[in-house]
């Protein structure tokens, strides 16, 4: 399968720089440790935050972290669009019999993905133990959907912004900034924020749908939701919808693509 070959090629090229590879593993380990540390911060220092139980907060962190890891593994190529355009690689992609979007995404593979997912798995199990929830198959399936929805939502944001990078190199800076913002604010139950701030995270940069809303629905913390309950329940679907919309936007911008440097 062509996609598989692309992935192995990316991994191989990552391995080729030996020091880079080992460093990547090391730094990936650091990141995993900090995710866990971060979760414990919230729970131990701010107990009863927004009326959420520790288990629920852990679950929210796990869902967001899982979605973020998957997005970072499969869709990080979106952050390189600016560079690819500058190097003229988009031109090369356009000449191949494969959708340009897929080639861009396959251009990079995040090697420590497995380690990251392992840590996410740990978070999930701890959260499940804390939470007083009956884990029916439906609930588990919803959880999986929530993680995938979170992944698609992050991918949607980066794809949407990355589409601008085809013509405006400055888009990359906005991509990094939203990434920082999502990392900083994504792990808190957003009902603690005043309305204006909450609105930002629902309607402008919709990280609410990544972890907060689906877990709020699942665990029943449905007071003070900024949206109707059914919208919170539909978070995975909204993530998917936004992703499809982002792809459409990408296709439009690609249609207007002008190569760099005549």
């Amino acid at each position: 399968m062509l996609t598989w070959r692309f992935i192995t090629m990316s991994v191989k090229s990552a391995i080729e720089h030996r020091a880079d590879f080992f460093f990547m593993i090391l730094v990936g380990a650091i990141w995993q440790v900090t995710v866990v540390a971060f979760a414990t911060v919230l729970i131990t220092r701010f107990p009863g935050m927004g009326g959420w139980t520790p288990g629920a907060i852990l679950l929210m962190t796990a869902v967001r972290s899982g979605g973020h890891t998957l997005a970072g593994s499969f869709f990080m190529g979106a952050r390189q669009i600016s560079e690819l355009t500058r190097e003229g690689r988009i031109d090369a992609f356009l000449l191949r019999p494969m959708p340009v979007y897929r080639q861009v995404m396959l251009n990079y593979f995040h090697v420590p993905m497995l380690g990251d997912l392992a840590v996410t798995g740990v978070l999930f199990t701890i959260a499940a133990r804390y939470l007083d929830v009956d884990w029916t198959p439906w609930r588990v399936a919803y959880l999986v959907a929530a993680v995938l929805g979170a992944m698609l939502l992050e991918a949607a944001v980066q794809t949407f912004l990355g589409s601008f990078a085809l013509r405006h190199p400055a888009a990359k800076q906005w991509q990094e900034w939203t990434e920082d913002l999502m990392a900083t604010f994504g792990n808190y139950p957003l009902n603690i924020l005043p309305n204006l701030a909450r609105a930002v995270f629902v309607f402008v940069l919709p990280i609410a749908f990544c972890g907060y809303l689906p877990v709020a629905f699942l665990t029943g913390h449905t007071t003070e939701l900024p949206v109707p309950v059914w919208v919170a329940a539909a978070s995975p679907g909204i993530g998917a919808l936004l992703f499809v919309a982002a792809l459409g936007w990408w296709a439009r911008r690609l249609g207007r693509y002008e190569s760099v440097g005549g």
Binding site: T8, I15, E16, R18, G261, G262
Partner: protein
């Protein structure tokens, strides 16, 4: 007999790297037990360039041209042999050497990508500490020769390749260096801009007396600009001499096919070899004669179709290697 401006004596460059084994398993093995590999990029290159001459450095990809240029410009330290530029060893004092040379490396720009080109020029003026009056004078001259004023307010990322390279050429000359290194400057350009750049290069040598080393793939460019060529292959010099001699000895000559209007039979045009129907074939070995013929043809108004074939660089190089191989036997 003067001092040579550029001198390469037995230049040698050896690179050490790790080789990658093929396949996925191989890549993993390379992680733990990398294989060290030694590449001899330049084996034994010697030549000299007197002041005011333009030397063309030819050779296939990977022959060692770029490595040689890097050693001569002081960026690379040779593994063996010696380079001298304007009487000094370039890599021993790069900062001083920088004032004596200018360089344009084809695909890479020295302009600041996100600043208007004029800002880049001002930066270089201050980096090289050129005084204001001299800077103004040189910039005006360069702008005139290269027609920069139409786009020098733009950023390189907004320019076409031809515009960008022209700015790079100006940037390289702002500090008035007597010696210039050009590494494939016209690659990827359209014909009109290529010609403008070539004229500019010719002017720098002929009128300004700069010493220039030019690497190129383009035989037309070589014949236009250089009287002397050095052919490099596999890190060694295989030919060092005049261009005309090279073509005479190894080239198969030139051909020009012309279709004239009204079945006119041209008289007085040299090199006529034969006629097939309305098409006349001219051929010869002397490139100067080809140029004369072409000029004469372009002056006429009864030429309907014209095709000119020069010598292919690859063919000439192949001929050179064949002859050397035969001589080595």
């Amino acid at each position: 007999m003067g001092e040579l401006a550029i001198e390469a004596v037995g230049l040698r460059k050896v690179f050490h790297s790790t080789s990658r084994r093929p396949g996925f398993a191989g890549a993993l093995r390379s992680l733990v037990a990398p294989q060290r590999v030694t590449t001899v990029a330049v084996d034994d290159v010697s030549f000299g360039v007197p002041p005011g001459e333009l030397l063309a450095l030819l050779g296939p990809n990977g022959a060692g041209k770029s490595t040689t240029i890097k050693m001569l410009s002081g960026v690379l330290v040779p593994s063996g042999g010696r380079a001298r530029v304007a009487g000094h060893v370039p890599h021993l004092d790069r900062q001083a050497n920088a004032r004596r040379i200018g360089a344009v490396f084809g695909q890479r720009t020295q302009l600041w990508w996100d600043l208007p080109a004029l800002e880049s020029f001002a930066m270089l003026r201050d980096i090289f500490k050129v005084d204001e009056a001299a800077y103004r004078r040189r910039l005006d001259e360069l702008a005139g020769l290269l027609e920069l004023s139409g786009f020098w307010q733009q950023r390189p990322r907004q320019m076409s390749l031809g515009q960008r390279v022209r700015c790079d050429l100006a940037a390289a000359l702002l500090h008035d260096p007597p010696i210039i290194f050009l590494d494939e400057p016209t690659i990827g350009m359209d014909a009109v801009v290529k010609e403008q750049v070539r004229e500019f290069i010719r002017y720098q040598t002929a009128e300004r007396g700069r010493t220039i080393i030019l690497t190129t793939h383009d035989m037309a460019e070589v014949s236009r600009l250089a009287s002397r060529v050095v052919l490099i292959n596999e890190g060694r010099v295989v030919y060092d001499g005049g261009l005309a001699e090279l073509q005479k000895e190894y080239g198969s000559g030139w051909k020009v096919r012309v279709t004239f209007a009204r079945d006119a039979v041209p008289s007085g045009l040299p090199g006529l070899v034969g006629t097939v129907g309305a098409e006349h074939l001219f051929a010869g070995t002397d490139p100067v004669a080809q140029r004369h013929l072409l000029r004469a043809l372009l002056d006429r108004d009864d030429v309907e179709d014209l095709q000119a074939h020069g010598d292919d660089l690859e063919d000439i190089m192949a001929a050179v290697y064949r002859k050397r191989a035969a001589a080595d036997r």
